[in-house]
């Protein structure tokens, strides 16, 4: 990890992307897009793990460096920090279905860092954040439509 002053650190997010046993279709497209996000300065990749949840519920974890042919990810792998701890693996794997494989990505949102830093210098404090699921937007729109229909 680079020595980024804490005040200049952007928000750090994670995702767990699950690939059910019968639905994975790795073409390299994901890696290409990830490399593009890093190279454009949009994000800084902090950590990556590949988790496999066995049918008995046990979890195997692989480091990105354990993959034989990383391709363009090789350059990213060299920059990773080992932020996740062993107990994080257990917590993250809780969301996985038995028999599935998942990629865990941790990244810093470089694009948000200057604004977040400016907000802090202005006295602002982050008191809430989150993500709005697409399903929630759909449900809200459909509820509006239903209400409009009933009102006619």
């Amino acid at each position: 990890m680079t020595d980024t002053p804490l005040d200049h650190l952007g928000p750090v997010d994670y995702v767990v992307v699950e690939f059910p046993a019968d639905a994975s279709n790795f073409t390299g497209e994901m890696a290409d897009e990830l490399v593009r996000l890093v190279n454009s300065g949009t994000i800084r990749l902090i950590d990556v793990l590949i988790l496999t949840k066995n049918e008995d519920g046990t979890v195997d974890a692989m480091e990105l460096s354990d993959i034989e042919e990383l391709g363009e990810l090789q350059a990213l792998e060299a920059q990773l920090a080992e932020l996740l701890a062993e107990e994080d693996v257990e917590h993250l794997a809780n969301a996985m279905e038995p028999g599935s494989t998942a990629g865990v990505l941790i990244w810093e949102n470089l694009w948000a860092a200057p604004f977040a830093s400016a907000a802090r210098r202005s006295g602002g404090q982050l008191i809430a954040n989150g993500r709005i699921p697409i399903q929630a937007i759909i449900a809200s729109i459909e509820a509006d439509e239903a209400a409009a229909t009933e009102g006619v």
Partner: protein, 54 residues
């Protein structure tokens, strides 16, 4: 494969078991009305296309 030694015995950053979220892909995967649904969502988040005022 085992985790690197540096990951073992440290305090984690996640802090709690993660619950599975709704699978977003299913909401936008081609189905009975994928085009219409996608268009509606896109319209709802388009700048200047206010849906309602609070």
């Amino acid at each position: 494969m085992p985790l690197r030694a540096a990951r073992v015995g440290r305090v984690g950053v996640i802090g709690h078991p993660v619950a599975k979220t709704a699978v977003v892909a299913k909401a936008v995967t081609p189905g009975p009305s994928p085009v219409a649904k996608t268009a509606v969502v896109a319209a709802a988040v388009t700048p200047g296309r206010g849906r309602r005022r609070i």
